[in-house]
Amino acid sequence: MVDKIPILKMGKFLLLSIQVDMHDQLAMDLQEDLTHQIVLHRSKGVLIDISSLDIVDSFIGRMLSHIAHVSRILDAKIIVVGMQPAVAITLVELGLSLDGIATALNVEKGMRRLEQMVEDDLSLELESGEDRDFSAEAGD
């Protein structure tokens, strides 16, 4: 029995690949572990690879969206990659459309997308930062 899912750090991103059947305790541990790692490394994005996950239930679906929401609060983008067709169909039939979670076909595309998302965010921050400086100066 696997008792921990490894979380890999890659630059400013975290990478985790779910390759075993998720059971409740494992999912809870993963959530906790992930939030710690995000805070510890000040990660800007998390990529979750579920390409080897064949079976999914409503619990896993809820867990994914929970992780996504927690990460968003901690200012990390999240992307789920490599979902199998059967898993996608099951989630849709269960009525879980994972709103607000970005998805990609594979790790490669997912990484590119994540970089883009974080970049967009950074440039947005810079722009608004400049705006603030400017208005501050004008106020003087």
Binding site: V80, G82, M83, P85, I89, L91, E93, L105, N106
Partner: protein
């Protein structure tokens, strides 16, 4: 238990019965364009032989083991006839036309013709019903096969460009077919690593709430896998129907023609087509 009267009659007058049976079949009309008389003769002779053997063991329970050869033969015959294009009544006539000669024999040879006739009639009715049932089963299996082959034929997923898939839907959609469409599309998305899928519904005659819901499910499933969907080929009436039904398409991109959808797809992939100026 004594041997049933009918069994004795069948055995004793087999050849006479056969001739009269054939005559009565001929009177009812044999489809000579579908079957020749030789085959009819052979079939009749064989069935009569099987009947006379089976009847020895009693004529009340057609489900018993003695009747199995008869049942098998009628089943095989009826199935073949349903495939060859015989009408139901033509198939049933084969068994029912034995009534007349058999009744005549009972009338001539029995002390108590009325009760024996009733028994014989019941027996032949059962056999006739059984042949009808087999005929229908044959028909149904033909329909099922055709449905299956239609399903396979009607859901091609084509690759328009590297990373762009299209699935032209033709004919009415039901949940069974949509399921197959959905699976085919998702499998192909994985296989070709396509980012955009165009669902073209030009050939779909009507869109009701079920169809719209199925389409949305497909779109959502594709989105979960990381591909975007564009729905194209929406005709004015269908657009009106969708609005009228109050179906919320959400943020799904819709285009009126496949060409429009394709150009949107190319734009999303950041590909530009330039008209050739060389020459």
């Amino acid at each position: 238990m004594s041997v049933p009267v009918i069994a004795e009659l069948l055995k004793k007058h087999e050849s006479e019965l056969l001739q009269e049976w054939i005559a009565s079949q001929r009177a009812a009309g044999i489809r000579t364009d579908l079957i020749d008389e030789g085959t009819v003769l052979n079939n009749s002779r064989e069935l009569l032989k099987l009947l006379s053997i089976a009847a020895l063991g009693g004529i009340d329970d057609l489900g018993s083991a003695e009747w199995k050869p008869v049942r098998n033969m009628i089943e095989a015959l009826s199935r073949t006839q349903s495939r060859q294009g015989f009408s139901p009544s033509e198939t049933a006539t084969f068994v029912f036309s034995l009534k007349e000669p058999l009744f005549a024999k009972i009338q001539a040879n029995c002390a108590d013709p009325a009760s024996e006739m009733l028994k014989a009639s019941q027996l032949l009715d059962k056999l006739g019903l059984y042949s009808m049932e087999s005929y229908m089963t044959g028909r149904e299996s033909v329909i099922r096969e055709q449905q299956e082959s239609m399903l396979e034929l009607s859901t091609p997923v084509v690759e328009l460009w590297k990373g762009v898939l299209a699935i032209p839907l033709i004919g009415s959609l039901d949940s069974n077919r949509t399921q197959i469409v959905m699976e085919a599309l998702l499998e192909k998305i994985v296989q070709t690593e396509s980012e955009i899928a165009i669902i073209d519904i030009t050939g779909v005659p009507t869109v009701d709430t079920m169809v719209a819901q199925h389409l949305l499910k497909t779109v959502t499933a594709a989105k979960l896998m990381g591909a975007r969907c564009i729905i194209s080929g929406i005709r004015p009436q269908i657009a009106a129907t969708i609005v009228h039904l109050g179906v919320e398409l959400g943020d799904v991109i819709t285009k009126s023609s496949l060409a429009d959808a394709f150009s949107v797809a190319l734009k999303e992939l950041d590909i530009r087509l330039v008209k050739g100026s060389l020459r």
